[in-house]
């Protein structure tokens, strides 16, 4: 038998990490999606952004949560230095 399977402790940890963030922030998966869509809408009024590359997540920082938004902007060729 091969020993390479996902160990159950690490899936427990991953699942808990996900659940705890949502428990603590009271943000559901749906809320987070809506937030993402709203953010995109507002931001794109000002700057050209790459919708597909956007990554928004809530991460644990000790007992606090951090909303992380990674929003790559589209490069506009004539502004390049």
């Amino acid at each position: 038998m091969f020993r390479k399977k996902t160990l159950s402790a690490s899936s427990a940890k991953d699942r808990l990490q996900f659940v705890l963030v949502h428990d603590r922030t009271n943000l559901s998966h749906q809320d987070l999606n809506n937030l993402k869509n709203d953010l995109i809408e507002v931001l794109s009024r000002y700057v050209p952004i790459d919708r597909k590359a956007i990554n928004i997540s809530v991460e644990q920082d000790g007992r606090h949560q951090r909303l992380l938004a990674d929003i790559p902007m589209k490069t506009i060729s004539n502004r390049r230095r």
Binding site: S8, A9, R24, R63
Partner: protein
């Protein structure tokens, strides 16, 4: 003397709160301190049987609060240790028989005469929890390496912070070190990563705990057992001492002893 009030809580039931309250109380008393344990689980009392004091109950917590007896009359002295007492919960009433304010007043009356007041909090996040939390100076959360217990512990830790009783401290109970080694059980480090509070004890899943509670003798009295040492270490950490963590993975049998000899390290 001004007692510090420690509340032992968990959120989820059945993780070993009462066992921890009994043994931490007894372990503190074994260091020579004066300790009183209060069973906060009105209607579902159990600290009395775990401590083996059930036959000596005359008055209880609710009798004190409602003025049917003096405080001293409801305190059962454990004759096995010099200064160890229990105030049992009422069995025929519910949590609303006592208010958070009653608990604060009761503890204030106990403080001058003791070093520690240990409160065994009921499961859940309702009145019983608020009663047990109100007088607390220190809160200890007990959990198991199981997703449901860890999740509930996180919720309780949040509530403790909201009540400004934090930061809570953590005890991870019922750890099977073989399973941890195999990667099939959350470790102390995993749980600390998730809950982000200070760990003050990791307790093995030890048959001796059940044997002891069958007999009404706190396992901490059985000085040869590893879990007894672990409880005494927790008591030390609660007292503010720097106590290194036990290596609970070491086997206690002949093979383990041989292994230690070959590695040249003595058992801690």
């Amino acid at each position: 003397m001004t007692a510090e009030v420690i509340t032992i809580t968990s959120g989820k039931g059945g993780v070993g709160k009462t066992t921890c309250a009994a043994n931490i109380g007894a372990a503190l008393a074994l260091t020579g301190d004066k300790v009183v344990c209060i069973d906060g689980d009105i209607g579902l009392r159990n600290l009395d049987v775990v401590l083996g004091l059930e036959n000596r109950i005359v008055y209880d917590l609710v009798d004190v609060v409602e003025g049917r007896c003096r405080l001293r009359q409801a305190m059962i002295k454990d004759k096995r240790i010099p200064e160890f007492y229990l105030i049992p919960a009422a069995q025929t009433r519910d949590k609303t028989a006592v208010s958070p304010n009653d608990m604060v007043e009761l503890c204030d009356r106990l403080r001058p005469d003791f070093d520690w007041v240990v409160i065994d909090c009921p499961a859940g996040i309702e009145r019983g929890f608020r009663n047990a939390m109100a007088p607390a100076d220190q809160v200890v959360v007990v959990t198991n390496p199981e997703i449901s217990a860890v999740r509930d512990a996180d919720r309780i830790i949040g509530l403790i912070e909201a009540e400004e009783k934090g930061p809570a401290k953590l005890i991870l109970n019922r750890v099977n070190f073989d399973m941890v080694k195999r990667g099939d059980m959350l470790s102390g480090d995993d749980v600390v990563d998730l809950l982000a509070i200070e760990l003050i004890g990791v307790l093995p899943d030890d048959e001796q705990v059940l044997v002891s509670s069958n007999q009404g003798i706190p396992v901490v009295f059985n000085e040869k057992s590893k879990i007894s040492k672990a409880f005494r270490n927790i008591a030390g950490r609660i007292k503010g001492e720097e106590v290194p963590f036990l290596n609970l993975e070491e086997r206690n049998d002949l093979l383990g002893a041989l292994g230690r000899i070959f590695r040249g390290s003595n058992a801690k």
